[in-house]
Assembly symmetry: C2
Homo-oligomer: 436 residues x 2
C-alpha cells in the first residue's frame, strides 16, 4: 500500500489563547493566525484553545481553499478548544475526555469547564496511515505548590494509554499540543518513555526559534512574566512529538517557533509561540505490509520506564490522599450542617409540645439559619459526590499503574540483559514507599 518515495509533511501547533472577551486582541489574532496558516501551506495544523465555535467556523471559512478538511472537538461545558485543519482527508475522528480536569468551583481557573481531552484524527497520506493526536492538558498555575499535579499526571497517563492503545495500526504517529509540562517533568517523561514518541525539538536536524525552544516567553506582551523568571525567561511546554513504525522511518528535518510579535503588527499570534515541524517519511525496505505490533517502549528503556511509572504512581497516591481528605472534610461539614438543622428544628418544635412556651427563635433568624444549614448540606453533598468521583478516578489510575508495573517487570524478566539495572524499584517496594 505504501509508496516507496519519501514523503514530506509539515505540522503546525499553536495554543491560540482564544477566550472571547477575555483574551486580548482575540478576533484580530485569529485573523493573523488564519493568514499565517494560509501562507505557510502546511499539511496539518493542530490548534488548542479555540474556545469559541465561531472562531473555529471563521478559520474554517478562511482556510477552506488551502485546508479543505477540518475537525472541531466538542467536550465539556465550553468545549475542548481543540481543532484540526488538514490538507489531507480526515477519515475518522475520536475523542478521549480526561477523567480528571480541575474543579468546577475553581471557576477562575476555568479548566474544568473546558472539558480537556485528546483528539485523534486518522489520515491516509500517500498510502500511509498517519494517526494525528492533538491535546491540551490542565494548566499549571503555581509550580511550587501545584495542586493540580495529580490531575495532570493522570491526564498524561491517560494520554499515553490512549496513544498506545489506538495507534497499533499506525504507520506514523504525531502528537501536537500544549502539555503544560516542562521537558523533564514527570508527565512528559511518562508520555515519551511509554509511547516511544520522540521530541521534535531534540530530534530536529535544524532548529530556528526561541532560545531552548521556549514556547512561552517573558517577552510576550500577553504573558505574566513573573512566573518565567526562574526558568531563564521562558519555558517549553508546547510540543510536536512523533514516531514511525516498522513500515516507515520518520525523521524531523526541521523545527521552528515563532519569536514573539508578528512582523508589522503590535502583538504576537498568542501568549504561546507556534511550532512548525517538517518531517520526512521514508518507507523502509522491509515493507511487509504491517507495522510493528508491539506498541510501547523498547526493552532497553524498560528500567527507566518502570521508575517513571513508579514516580507517577506515587504522585497519584499523594493526590488520592488529598482527595480523600477533602471528601472527608465535605462529609464532616455536611454532618455538622445536618445536626445544626435538626437542632434548630427541635428547638423550634418545643413550643408545639410545651403549650404556653414562647417561640425561642425570632422568625427571621430561624429562616436564615435554616436556609444556611440547607445550603451547607446541599453543597457538601455535591462536593462529596465530586470528590468521590475524583477518588474513584485516582484509584482506577493507580490500579492500572500497578498492573502496568507488574507487566513491565514480567517483560524485564523475559529480557535478562536489562536486569542488571540496580536503580530499578520493585512495585511492591514502591507500594510501601508512600506512607501518607
Amino acid at each position: 500500500m505504501t509508496t516507496s518515495a519519501p514523503i514530506r509533511l509539515r505540522v503546525f501547533s499553536l495554543n491560540c489563547w482564544g477566550i472571547r472577551y477575555l483574551s486580548k486582541n482575540c478576533i484580530e489574532r485569529f485573523v493573523l493566525i488564519g493568514d499565517l496558516l494560509n501562507q505557510e501551506q502546511l499539511d496539518i495544523a493542530l490548534l488548542q484553545e479555540v474556545w469559541c465555535e465561531k472562531d473555529f467556523l471563521f478559520l474554517k471559512k478562511k482556510l477552506g481553499s488551502v485546508y479543505p478538511y477540518s475537525h472541531y472537538f466538542k467536550s465539556g461545558f465550553i468545549g475542548s478548544g481543540l481543532a484540526v485543519f488538514s490538507r489531507h482527508r480526515i477519515h475518522d475522528a475520536f475523542l478521549y475526555r480526561y477523567s480528571l480536569n480541575g474543579y468546577p468551583y475553581m471557576a477562575q481557573h476555568g479548566d474544568w469547564f473546558g472539558g480537556k481531552a485528546v483528539g485523534k484524527v486518522l489520515l491516509n497520506i500517500s498510502g500511509l496511515t498517519v494517526h494525528v493526536f492533538v491535546t491540551h492538558l490542565h494548566a499549571e498555575y503555581c509550580r511550587e505548590k501545584d495542586s493540580y499535579l495529580p490531575h495532570r499526571v493522570v491526564q498524561a497517563w491517560e494520554l499515553q494509554q490512549f496513544i498506545r492503545h489506538t495507534s497499533a495500526g499506525a504507520d506514523v504517529v504525531i502528537l501536537g499540543g500544549d502539555l503544560n509540562m516542562h521537558p523533564d517533568d514527570l508527565g512528559t517523561r511518562l508520555l515519551r518513555n511509554y509511547t516511544g514518541l520522540l521530541d521534535s525539538f531534540s530530534e530536529a536536524a535544524k532548529f530556528d526559534g526561541c532560545e531552548e525552544g521556549f514556547t512561552h516567553i517573558s517577552e510576550n506582551p500577553f504573558t505574566h512574566t513573573d512566573g518565567l523568571v526562574p526558568f531563564g525567561g521562558g519555558v517549553r511546554i508546547d510540543y510536536i512529538l512523533f514516531k514511525g513504525s516498522g513500515e516507515v522511518d520518520v525523521s524531523c528535518e526541521s523545527l521552528s517557533t515563532t519569536k514573539g510579535p508578528v512582523p508589522g503588527q503590535p502583538f504576537p499570534y498568542s501568549d504561546h509561540e507556534a511550532l512548525t515541524a517538517e518531517f520526512l517519511f521514508t518507507p523502509t525496505k522491509k515493507g511487509n505490509g504491517c507495522s510493528e505490533r508491539e506498541f510501547g517502549c523498547v526493552s532497553d528503556k524498560l528500567p527507566e520506564l518502570i521508575n517513571t511509572v513508579n514516580e507517577a504512581r506515587t504522585e497519584v497516591k499523594v493526590g488520592l490522599h488529598c482527595s480523600e481528605r477533602m471528601r472527608h472534610t465535605a462529609a464532616r461539614t455536611g454532618i455538622m450542617g445536618l445536626v445544626l438543622l435538626v437542632l434548630e428544628l427541635a428547638i423550634a418544635a418545643v413550643p408545639l409540645f410545651a403549650l404556653g412556651a414562647e417561640q425561642p427563635f425570632p422568625k427571621a433568624s430561624f429562616y436564615l439559619l435554616g436556609a444556611l444549614c440547607f445550603a451547607v448540606l446541599l453543597s457538601t453533598l455535591m462536593l462529596y459526590i465530586f470528590y468521590s468521583i475524583e477518588v474513584k478516578a485516582l484509584q482506577g489510575t493507580e490500579d492500572q499503574m500497578r498492573l502496568a508495573l507488574s507487566s513491565l517487570h514480567e517483560r524485564i524478566k523475559e529480557s535478562p540483559k536489562v536486569l542488571s539495572s540496580d536503580h530499578l524499584q520493585n512495585p511492591l517496594d514502591s507500594k510501601d514507599s508512600v506512607h501518607l
Copy 2:
C-alpha cells in the same frame, strides 16, 4: 509468534445485579457466582454490576486459585461495576468512560452515579494478542418512551469507536456485557456493522439455554415481568461478541445460558442469565505476523452500515433537540428567578430611600422568598451547565458521525460494485431529513 495448534477459550459474562442492601440475596448470590466460576474453570469471566468493591474483593479471594488475574474498573461515583477474572495474565487495562450516561437528578435510576464505561484488558494467549472488552450500557426503563435512547446510541457509538480504534493490533477481539439493547436495536446494529463483531448466539454451532437466547426472562423471580410480556417472556440484552483477524480464524463452538434458578437453591444467580461461550482459535495458514490493519466493516456491508449511521445520527439529533430545549427551559427559569430576586430586593429597598415608608414585607416571607429565588437560580445554573455539557457531547457525536458518513461514502465510491444499492442515503440528504 503464534502457535499453529487450535486454541480453545471459554468466556463467561454475567450482569450480577450487585446493589448491596437493595438487590435481593446479594451476598448469597455472590457466593453462588463464585462457586459457579470456580467449578466452570473458564478462561475469562466478564462481570457487570459488581457495584461494591467489597464484593469484587470477596470474589478475588474466592477465585484466586483458579483465576489468578483480575481487574476491577473504577469510575463515576459508585464505580463502573465492571470486573474481569482471568486465568491468563492481564498485561494492560484501559477504561473509556462514556460521555453521556443519564442524569444526576434521576437518582432513582442511578445510572449517572455508576459512571458507565467500557473496559479493555489485553491478554496474550499462546502467543495470540487477545483484546477483551467488557461493558454495561445505560438501562432501558421504558421501551415505548425511552428518554435515554440518545444516551444509549451515543454510548454504542463510542463503544464501536473505542473497539475499532484500540483493536487494530489484535489477533482476536472479544466483547462481553449487558448492552441493554435487543439484537435488532439501532445501537446493536451500529456496533456489529461498524466493528464487524459477530454475535456468538447466531454463530454458535451448538446452543443450550433459554428460548431464543433470552438473558432477561419473566420466570426470573427478581425480574419485573410486566415489561417482558410483549416480547414473549424474555429479551436478549446480554451478549458475547467476537471476531478474528488475518492471523486467526475464530469460531464459536457453543453458547449456553443459565436457565433461571440455581440447582438446589431457591433463587437464580442474578436478575439476568449468565452466558458462556466456547471459542476455537485456528491460526490461519497466512501467518504473516501481522493482523488485518483495516479495522471496521468489509465493503459489501458498507451500504447497510451507512444507513445505520444515518439512523443513529437522526437519533442523536432528536436527543440534541431535547437537550437544547431542556437547557433553554433551565435558562428561562433561572432568569425568572433572578428577576424575582431583583424585584424583591427593590421592593425591600423602598423604605431605605423613602423615609417613613413602612417595610412592605413581613421579614419571614422576605427571607423565604429570597431563599427560594436563590435556590432556583443555583439549581437552574447547575442544570444549565449540565445540559450544555450534554449538548456539546451530542454535537460532538453528530460531527463524528457526519465525518464517518463522508468517509464511508468515499470508500463506497472506491468500491463501485456496491454502488448499485438504491436504499443508500446521502449524508447531505440525511442532514436535511430531520426538521426539528
